[in-house]
């Protein structure tokens, strides 16, 4: 999914009629949505609603049973499209290679594809780690990092390819509120700085309403509603309202 490196500009993404079954179990039941270039689009919904499976389809780790995914109106499955556009996925766990240092992880794409000389790769790695506030972690191993730091390193690794589309899988899960805000600010800053299109899958209400230009609410493999944060907040559906407003109730 990674074309030649140059300055990033966001791409548009269209998903039409996407369906996927695992055995007899339907996971995606005809998903339709469109993301504008440079937009931060959040897909929100309860656990098990099909969010992560949808994300795997978008990055090409899963093949749909039916439907299509278009990037700038071109089908994602076409070989020339894979070479033309640069996409990156920030995994829920970070998915850093535990046998490599932080610096080696961030520079892995450039090193393995031999796109730059070693000194240039080192400079880019340091620049991207500085962008996410982790330049001091260059020589650390992933096991020495906190959950939030791992996710920021994963973002730095995604930035190395100058992505036109970044997909985030639950970027704030398992993080404390401060780290979650740092990650949210990172997503906003990337949009402002490089105009990248961001698609965020999350069940974190604060993150979704904090960063999204638009939100899609997904449940049982279907899109329930799509709209601006305010439109989704005011959408009169019991499932959506329950998800957005549910709180602990203590008996006094």
């Amino acid at each position: 999914m990674n074309g030649p490196l140059n300055h990033a500009t966001g791409v548009g993404l269209v998903v039409r009629g996407l369906r996927k079954n695992f055995g007899d179990q339907p996971v995606l039941n005809g998903i339709d949505f469109a993301v504008q270039p440079g937009e931060i689009f959040v897909i929100m919904g309860p656990s098990g609603s099909g969010k992560s499976v949808l994300l795997k389809h978008l990055i090409g780790l899963e093949a749909p049973d039916a439907g299509e995914i278009l990037i700038n109106s071109e089908p994602i499955t076409a070989p020339e499209v894979a070479a033309k556009y640069r996409m990156a996925l920030v995994f829920q766990s970070g998915a850093l290679l535990n046998s490599l240092t932080v610096g080696e992880n961030v520079g892995l794409y450039l090193t393995e594809h031999r796109l730059k000389p070693a000194a240039e790769i080192e400079r880019i790695v340091l620049e991207k780690l500085t962008d996410v506030g982790l330049k001091d972690a260059l020589h650390k191993m992933p096991s020495e990092l906190s959950g939030g730091m791992k996710k920021r390193v994963a973002i730095a690794r995604a930035l190395v390819i100058d992505p036109q589309l970044i997909l985030y899988d639950e970027p704030t899960s398992e993080l404390d509120p401060v780290s979650a805000v740092i990650i949210g600010n990172e997503i906003l800053e990337l949009k402002q700085r490089i105009g990248v299109t961001s698609l965020v899958v999350s069940h974190d209400r604060d993150l979704a309403f904090g960063v999204a230009d638009r939100i899609a609410f997904i449940a049982e493999g279907r899109i329930v509603t799509i709209g601006t944060p305010d439109e989704v907040k005011n959408f009169k559906d019991p499932l959506v309202q329950n998800f957005l407003h549910v709180e602990f109730q203590r008996e006094h």
């Binding site: 090409g60 995994f91 766990s93 998915a95 850093l96 046998s99 892995l108 794409y109």
Partner: protein
């Protein structure tokens, strides 16, 4: 055990096709090669010394009693070079290195590191499987050559010092030289090369198909070792038949 043979063969074939990439992956091949040697050399020494010793101990007195003392060196030499060193070392490496390969690749699969490689257009076969296969295919024949020499030495020590044999070192090796030819050693080393490919392909396949968290990793490790050993024994017979022609 046999249901995935097709997938293992396919993985092996894809790795063969990726061989031109080996030079690019030379650093990882060297690391894996060093890891295999470093982890196994001492065990290979101890194991092969005592295998040679026990073969001499089992066969020597029987042959000496029948006035066949001059055959002891040859029997020990042939048994170790053609059969025991390649098979026993392959089983040792399956347990020590095959398990590590399955565990490492399996945990990378479970913790989405392999998915991360794919999203970066990095082929896991080039990045993970090829260096391991090349390293083990180079390391095991070397270890087996070493094991043959140590095994012969172990046999000669027992033949020399055991009061029922008392065959001098020079006589032992002189007898060994009259019976064992270079082709016998070559057969053993060739077998070990084939066993190395079996261990590499089976273990990497188990790692790449791991599912289900830490328990799944444990299952993959067990399967990698057991399946490798079963295939080593089966292929040992097939290769022996082929090499006897």
């Amino acid at each position: 055990m046999f249901e995935n043979i097709g997938e293992v063969v396919l993985l092996f074939w894809r790795t063969l096709l990726a061989l031109p990439q080996a030079w690019r992956q030379r650093r990882k091949i060297y690391e894996q090669f060093f890891e295999i040697g470093n982890a196994s050399l001492l065990m290979v020494c101890v194991l092969s010394f005592f295998i040679g010793a026990v073969i001499a101990l089992q066969t020597g007195p029987v042959l000496v009693e029948r006035s066949l003392a001059s055959a002891v060196g040859g029997v020990v030499g042939i048994a170790i070079a053609k059969e025991l060193a390649p098979v026993m070392m392959a089983i040792l490496i399956a347990g020590r290195i095959g398990s590590a390969m399955a565990a490492e690749i399996g945990s990378m699969r479970v913790y989405q590191e392999i998915d991360a490689l794919r999203t970066m257009n990095i082929n896991p076969i080039h990045y993970l499987v090829l260096p391991r296969m090349v390293a083990i295919a180079l390391a095991l024949p070397l270890l087996v050559t070493f094991a043959i020499l140590v095994g012969w030495f172990g046999g000669s020590v027992v033949a020399n010092y055991n009061h029922r044999m008392e065959i001098p070192f020079l006589a032992f090796f002189s007898d060994l030289k009259t019976i064992v030819v270079l082709k016998d050693v070559g057969n053993g080393v060739f077998k070990s090369f084939c066993f190395a490919l079996i261990i590499g392909a089976v273990s990497c396949h188990q790692g790449l198909t791991t599912i289900g968290g830490p328990r799944g990793i444990g299952r993959s490790v067990t399967k990698a070792v057991v399946n490798s050993i079963v295939f080593i024994v089966i292929f040992d017979y097939i290769l022996t038949r082929f090499l006897q022609q």
